[in-house]
Amino acid sequence: MIELRDVHKRFGKQVVLNGVDFEVREGETVALMGPSGTGKSVLLKTIIGLIKPDQGTIIVDGKDVVHLKRAQLAELRSQIGYVFQNGALFDSMNVFENVRLGITDEDKYRDLDYCRDRIAECIRLVNLPADTIDKYPAQLSGGMRKRVGIARAIAGTPKYLLYDEPTSGLDPVNADIIDGLVERLDNELGVTSVMVTHDVRGAFRVADRLALLSEGKIVMQGTPQEFHDSPNAKVREFLERDFDNPSFAA
């Protein structure tokens, strides 16, 4: 379970998170939506301890992330797979080595036979051709890089998956492929997921519940149907563009 209580974060004079309360239950997929620049990625990074909040409590898997010691935080992170917006692949390493770094159990990481099998499995799960493992990030398309990023995130068999805008910058066809992949992985692996996105269509397709972040606060959390029926002005404003789109209705 992931639980955020009264989380505040500011960078200089800019208030990014202003008392966020947010909850993700065991096994569910929550899409965190909001316009660009509202602090969705910052919120996601506070969950994994990459950004320390100025105030508030963040509980992941029963542990208070803010007060964990270095070794404890590393231990917790080994149970969380984080998919970065642009893949964040190590460009000096090929796909095999990139995905291998995701195997967080040190003994398994040293076992080359295990690594070969696990990496091949992860590459298959994200629908990439087997020969991708020898390629370098510079030789991959944007969509392939995102999928390698997902393969790396799941390589360590995490309990939690955090996706930071997995479909941003992709054309609709590739965005649909990634959404389908996220949906399938969440079902097959049974992980607890948070997906940051401003793609309403993708969020409605993938998530069990949705949350809307605006002006540093969670404006609403609920099921896709509750969002659809919500009279809340901010929710309506955010959704309207996509609801009006015929492809969304379909």
């Binding site: 990074k45 994994i48 990459l50 270095r70 935080l73 590393a74 231990e75 917790l76 992170r77 080994s78 969380i80 984080y82 970065f84 917006q85 642009n86 964040a88 692949l89 190590f90 460009d91 770094l101 995701g102 967080t104 790396r152 360590g156």
Partner: protein, 271 residues
């Protein structure tokens, strides 16, 4: 009226200067704090030998093989110019063997370590800052942390230790190259025999000079690698930030090399 206008302007200027100085002091203190934390974090990562050792070997090879030619070339020219200028200045006034003394002392005590460090501040320092800066802005360092892995043992320690080993080694080779080149050059323009040169080189020779040269190179290596990695690690704001941290890394480590040169000379030679 004019006097009345000038008074608030002067007060405002004083206030601005005080604000500016205050901001510099705060920024300086914050940088020192962050650098100290960075160094402590790096030292903590030393326990993960299995992680940093193979990467350090690779990095050491990159530094050594990649920098050898330019280091030998520049120190050879420095040795040649030192020998030729010594010949020009002292011909007829002092014995020729003194050229050997001056070339060897100048190269080992000063030119070898300082020139090598300045070249490598540009070559290795810029590379480290740009590499780590790019990794920071493309979230590769965050990715490493998110995987529960220590960026210090994966990225910083291999680079710092490789520099601490290879820069003194390159300095020793630069010293040899400068001396040999000086020896050859001076023989070409002055009637100095090999025996004269060797006699001069040995006359004022103290083994401590060689240790001093390597000790200086070791400190210079520390300043180049730590400053560059620190600057790269703290890069902000995309491509512009990478350029800024690369320039700052090279300038800061070059200035630090010259400051350390003075301090170490005072501490180790003028006792």
């Amino acid at each position: 009226m004019e006097g009345e206008d000038k008074a608030p302007m002067a007060a405002s200027t004083t206030y601005d200067i005080r604000q500016l100085v205050g901001r510099w002091v705060l920024e300086g203190a914050s940088q020192v704090g962050r650098l100290t934390y960075f160094v402590i974090d790096t030292i903590r990562g030393l326990v993960e030998v299995r992680i940093w050792l193979p990467r350090m070997m690779e990095e050491a090879w990159n530094i050594g093989a990649g920098s050898l030619f330019i280091v030998l070339l520049i120190s050879a020219f420095a040795g040649a110019v030192t020998a030729l200028q010594t010949g020009y200045q002292f011909t007829g006034s002092i014995p020729y063997y003194v050229v050997g003394t001056l070339v060897v002392s100048s190269i080992i005590l000063e030119l070898g370590p300082v020139l090598t460090a300045l070249i490598l501040a540009g070559r290795i320092g810029a590379r480290y800052a740009a590499e780590l800066g790019t990794m920071r802005v493309t979230e590769q360092i965050d990715a490493l942390e998110s995987l529960g892995r220590s960026p210090s043992s994966h990225l910083v320690i291999p680079r710092v230790l490789a520099g601490l080993i290879m820069i003194p080694a390159l300095t020793v080779l630069a010293n040899l190259s400068g001396i040999v080149s000086g020896w050859i050059s001076v023989k070409a323009v002055l009637p100095v025999t090999d025996a004269d040169f060797i006699y001069g080189a040995q006359y004022y020779w103290r083994p401590w000079d060689a240790y001093y040269s390597v000790i200086k190179a070791f400190f210079f290596a520390g300043s180049i690698t730590v400053i560059s990695c620190y600057m790269g690690f703290n890069t902000q704001q995309g491509a512009e930030g990478v350029g800024k941290s690369t320039t700052t890394a090279v300038v800061t480590s070059s200035v630090l090399i010259l400051v350390l040169d003075t301090v170490l000379t005072r501490l180790l030679l003028n006792q």
